[in-house]
Amino acid sequence: MKCKNFHKKMIFYIDGELTAPENSVIDQHLKTCNDCSLLFSELKSCYKLIENKETLKPNPFLYTRIKQNIENIEQALSLKELKPVYMRIIQPVLIACLLVTGISFGILLGNSYDNTPQKNKSIASTNEFYMNDFQSEELEINLLNE
């Protein structure tokens, strides 16, 4: 057997994949060729380490961790699903409510303004100013979010 042929078959020899006649030819070559025998033992010492692979035992907390992660993901997903509903239904309803209360507030304040005695007029008008300001700000935020 030529050394070159031997080199081609070494790893399959280690894995026991050769036929009986092939094996005996290799055995013979190993006994007679020093270089190949050295090369072979180097290859084998490294390649055989695959068989030393340790089998890991699962972490006892694995399931708890998986469950925790899934809960977090599901929570994030349900929030995402809620968002479009909020945008499409809740937000317009909220704006409408604010508009209605704003208008009725305005009417109410307008009526009370008429009925307010002269000396309280300035206080009433500052109140009115703050309240209207607050409402328009809320509306702006809602419109921005849309």
Binding site: H7, K8, M10, I11, F12, D15, L39, E42, L43, S45, C46, Y47, L49, I50, N52, K53, T55, L56, K57, P58, N59, L62, Y63, R65, I66, K67, N69, I70, I73
Partner: protein, 192 residues
Amino acid sequence: MTDNELIDGILSGNEKYFKELVDNYQALVLNTCNSFLHDKSNAEDIAQEVFIEVYLSLHKFKKESKLSTWLYRISVNKSLNYIRDNKKRKFVRSIEDLFKIENTSKTQVVDNINQNNNTEDDHEEKLQLLHQVISGLQENQRIAFTLSKFENLSYKQISEIMDLSLLSVEGLIHRAKMNVQKKILSFFKKTN
């Protein structure tokens, strides 16, 4: 309880069936991930991700194939994805390290050389070489070889996991072995 009963149980919303699935398959998933990652804590992290994916996409699983085949496939994909992402991170880090070279002390280098003299480190070095050689294989060769040699799966099982013909798997493993041999020997030739 059969796998199909477990799957039906999980899909009907019963949590205890999912726990049973994890119990049944956690060793398979963990060790498959470890065969690619060679690192226990990374393998645990990826095994976790595998089961999360299983839970979230179980409704898409076709029952005509085996559950274990599907689990192997997700484990392989997730592990290789992790390695790919990690390579990118390492590349960035190695650039950062270029600017820190002067911080490595000379004594550390001498220590490393001295350590290489004992057999335990020789063993460790060879193991590193082996892992490096396998990770340098073309991806399909790497998957087929790893499942065959580390997980001891049959060519038929591997062909199902990789969705390839038996003949292709045989070819991949044959070429993988030739390459592994070539790379190991070229390393020894260089060092001697």
